[in-house]
Each structure stands twice: as structure tokens, then as C-alpha cells.
Point group: C2
Chain length 281, copies 2
DNA sequence: TTGCTCCTCACGTCACGTGAGGTGGC
DNA sequence: TTGCTCCTCACGTCACGTGAGGTGGC
């Protein structure tokens, strides 16, 4: 019979703390091969060393315990590796986000925030293909990277051509709550087959008409990480003139990460709903 | 008088959630410019937009709130930037650690773990300069990167020459608890001035004699992130033969990150204390 | 008056860490 | 018998998120 290890021994052998091993037991991630019914002592088998080494590495790359458990429970090697590579892709996104945040921080410290000019515009009524979902703040970038190709593909399959740049509507309370409904849209000509209300050009893609309305607009140049600076300038302008009203905020993506790899090239219009178009002063 | 913003407005202007703003208020990180005594309403001033933008970026690069508060409270620009660059240095270490963990994970999945041979050795009595501290697990690498230059400098100032590679003793319970006392040491000749017990060659550096004792030894080749694999092989060997005994585990750093930038070049001996030297079979 | 926004508890989340107080085997 | 290791609660940490239940101004 193979030797068994106590928690203390298993801890030294795996570089996992005793407390972590207790926690992994309770969470069902790495239950001991045997638990003494009388004393409650945990006994780990040599076979569990390989699993422990995997758990330690997965935790070091910040995989949540529920997913670690799923990876260990996977019936075959392919299942394991699928779970792992999904997570590593997410990790890469996270690291890219951190790099962008560092750049954004350094820009804030060195470059003086130059406020862009604010204009007023009556957003026109627009026939669109839309795709909506509940999206959390940190996931917006990835979500858009999926939504717009889907809208473009849907338009293409219906023989429609987009009539302008895509955009998105951020429902009320979206920023206050850190997430909520986002509607990505792509303008199409009203006569286009895809624009008929009865037509659903692809799963989840819906043809609608966005209503017209007065907005205050700012052009944001640069990384999405710095959007808050343009929002501050725009929102402050609107609030201080008491022009604010209910309704979603709209972003229009003029130059996107799909168009240019350099964040400095990005162009995003932010449109804030207002009560009326004031006389330009 | 400048306009003031409600939490909801300030949230949209800064892209911080209302709940986060509440939390930053309670934590003293970003208290509203004014709090209505009667209603408890929070009122934020336009001046606070800049602070909010900084807070958001610092949190995105994972600076703890207590440090964010200290940065905002810093009296001058230099104080702010010192706190920030200290944190960014830590962040770079963290990212390097994550990269190492990814490599270690991929190595575990692709390369078959080849167990290195285990040998027995009577660790000799050794005159040493030592430097000890309480170190947490994740901070060991950075701590060693400071400790050994300090030991080398202390030896140099006393006119001593190291008599072999440096090493470290990990006190009992170190792995089980995830930290504790670590003693970095550098062997010197007993006649060296630095080796005299009365002599303290530098702040915190102490001359001592490490006692002799039987050990089981394995040579670990490669990244420190993979040390657990060698510990598993070595500890399993010791436990299964019932050779285990109390006492610190010793690591000897034969090829260190200071010697080679390629992790594959690293060489570390791990010495596990045992009761006696068994006859080699 | 109805909505809307704001408020304050109180508790939940995630992955453990930190004691307190007590038991079993050499 | 003394140490040592192991055990189980119960609570703490960090940075918020999630409701519940209630108030003030248009």
C-alpha cells in the first residue's frame, strides 16, 4: 500500500499552506484521499501531488476555485486543457487591461488633460440593426469585439450595407451601477431588407429605429481607458448648464481597435442626451 | 459658487460606481466636498473630478485603498509620484510573477516532470555571515535579491571572501504557514575577520556557525516557480523511507538570477534534514 | 401624488489568514 | 508527562456588490 501524507507533510511537499489545503478540502477542489473518521485527520496520497501542483499553478494565474475544481474533474486531457486555455485567454485580456491602465495613469500624470470642444447636435432618427445584452463594465471591450462583427455579418447576409459607423447605447444607470444593458447598433438604409422590423437577420440581432433627440457631443481621441476624462468634460458642461435629461448615453465608434492598433488613433464620439439644443453662444 | 454634483452625476462623470463612491467616502479616500447634514446627501465639487480620475486609475492598477488615500493626501507632487512609482515597481514584479506562473503551468502540461536523483550528504559545519527576517512566501524572491548583495557587501567591507555559494534556511513551519523566518547565509573562512562572533559586519548581518547534519539532497534545475516539483520528489522520498526529522530546510543557490537571465540555467540544491545517512543502495 | 434619486444598515463574495480552544500519538 | 501535530469553530481581511426598507424634492 502506498504511503500517505499528513497535511503538514503534504504542505511542505506541495508548497500549499495547511490553511489553503483545508480550504481546498472544504471547497471540494482537492479533498484528501482519506479522512480518518475518528480523528478527522486528513491523509493525502502520493497520487495527489500532481493535482496539487496543477492547483497551485492555476491559482497563481488567478483561476477561480470553482473553475479549478472543474478542471480537475474533467474526464479527459482535452477537457482540462480547454478550461485552462479559456482562462489563459482571459488572463491575457486582463494583462492588456492593466497595461492600458498603467499608460492611462502615466498620461494623467504627465500630459495635461486638454478638454475637447463640446458641440450640440440633434441625433437623427436612425434605422439600425441592434444587438443588446447585459454587460458588466470590465467586459465591455470584449463584448463589443464580438457584437460588431456579428452585426456586420448579419447585415452582409441580408445584402445590406452599413450607412455609417457603429455605436452603442448605455442604458440609464449603467455607470452608476457598473453595468447593465448595452445596445450595439449599426445604421442601415431603411429600404434595406435587414431593416424591416419583421426580419431577424441573425440570432439576437434586431432591426429597430433609434429615435431622434438633442445631444451634447464630445470627440474623444485616444484610448478607451481615458474615456472618463471626456465624460467629465462633457457631463460637467451639461450639468452646469442644467441641460441634463433622462435617456441612454451614446458612444459612436469612428476609429476602433479593429481599424488601428495604436490607441492614440482611436476616435469615439460621446453623446449625452439633453433637454433641448441651446443657442450656440 | 461652483456647481456641485450628486453621487449619481459624479458617478457618470467619473465612471466610478455609486457604491464605490460610498466606499471611498467611508474609507476617507474621496470624501464629498460637502455632506448635507439633514439628508445625508453627498455633494461633489468639480475640483474633485481630477482626484477621482486618479483614484480610478490607481485602483485599476490594483493599488490598495490605504495607499491611494496616502497618495491623495501627499502634500506635494513629488510625494504623490513617489507613492505611485513604488507601487508600479511592485506591479511589475507581480506581472513578472504571473508570467513565470504561466510558463510553469505550461511546462507542467507539456513537459513530463523528470525526477532528479536524490543523494545523501552530511552538511558540514559552516562559518557564515547570516541575515534573517520574517518573510512571506510571495516576497522571498525580492527579499533574497536584497539579502545577498547585502551579505556580499558586508563580507567585502571586512576583507572576507565567500567560500562557496550562498544559501538560505527556511524555518520549521515556513511552508505550512506560508511564511516565517528565513536566514540567508554566505559561507566565509573561520579565520576571516567577518567570521568572528563579536563582529557585526553590517546592520543586521551576523556571523554564526551553521551546525553539521545529515540531509537528503536534490538538484533543482530551472525556475524557482517549479521548486515544488523537486520538493515533492525529495520530500516524498524522505517521508516514504521514514527518514524525516525536525529542522529547517536549506536551499543552496548555485546559479541565481544574478548569474543568468534564462530561468532554465538556474541551479538550486534543496537539502532536507534527515535522521541519519542511510547506506546507499 | 407619483417617480426618481438619494440615504443607511446589514449581509454577501472570494480565497484564504488568524487566532482560540481542544484532542491524539510518541 | 511533555511537545508536537492535528482538529474544528468563529471571525477577520479587502474592496466593494446586493438587496431591504425608508426619506426628500420636483
Amino acid at each position: 500500500m502506498a504511503e500517505m501524507f499528513t497535511v503538514g507533510e503534504f504542505s511542505r511537499l506541495t508548497h500549499l499552506t495547511v490553511k489553503a489545503l483545508h480550504h481546498y478540502h472544504e471547497a471540494g477542489v482537492l479533498p484528501p484521499a482519506r479522512v480518518d473518521a475518528a480523528t478527522g485527520y486528513r491523509w493525502y496520497s502520493p497520487d495527489q501531488l500532481a493535482d496539487a501542483q496543477l492547483v497551485r499553478r492555476l491559482r497563481q494565474v488567478r483561476m477561480p476555485l470553482t473553475e479549478v475544481r472543474a478542471v480537475l474533474a474533467a474526464p479527459d486531457r482535452a477537457g482540462r486543457e480547454a478550461g485552462i486555455s479559456t482562462h489563459l485567454a482571459r488572463l491575457r485580456l486582463e494583462l492588456a487591461g492593466t497595461a492600458a491602465a498603467v499608460a492611462s495613469l502615466q498620461a494623467l500624470l504627465t500630459a495635461a488633460p486638454e478638454p475637447a470642444p463640446i458641440t450640440y447636435r440633434l441625433a437623427p432618427e436612425q434605422h439600425c440593426l441592434t444587438f443588446a445584452a447585459d454587460v458588466e463594465r470590465h467586459a465591455v471591450g470584449a463584448w463589443c469585439a464580438e457584437a460588431f462583427p456579428r452585426l456586420l455579418a448579419a447585415a452582409g447576409r441580408s445584402g445590406s450595407t452599413p450607412e455609417g459607423p457603429g455605436g452603442a447605447l448605455y442604458g440609464e444607470g449603467w455607470f452608476e451601477l457598473g453595468g447593465g444593458e448595452v445596445t450595439a447598433y449599426l445604421p442601415v438604409h431603411p429600404d434595406d431588407p435587414a431593416a424591416q422590423p419583421s426580419h431577424e437577420p441573425a440570432a439576437g440581432v434586431v432591426a429597430t429605429t433609434l429615435l431622434a433627440g438633442p445631444t451634447a457631443v464630445i470627440m474623444h481621441e485616444g484610448s478607451f481607458s481615458d474615456l472618463d476624462r471626456s465624460y467629465a468634460a462633457l457631463g460637467r458642461h451639461v450639468v452646469e448648464r442644467d441641460l441634463g435629461t433622462r435617456g441612454p448615453i451614446r458612444e459612436i465608434y469612428l476609429v476602433t481597435p479593429a481599424d488601428s492598433a495604436d490607441p492614440a488613433d482611436l476616435r469615439t464620439e460621446v453623446c449625452w442626451p439633453i433637454t433641448h439644443l441651446p443657442k450656440e453662444s
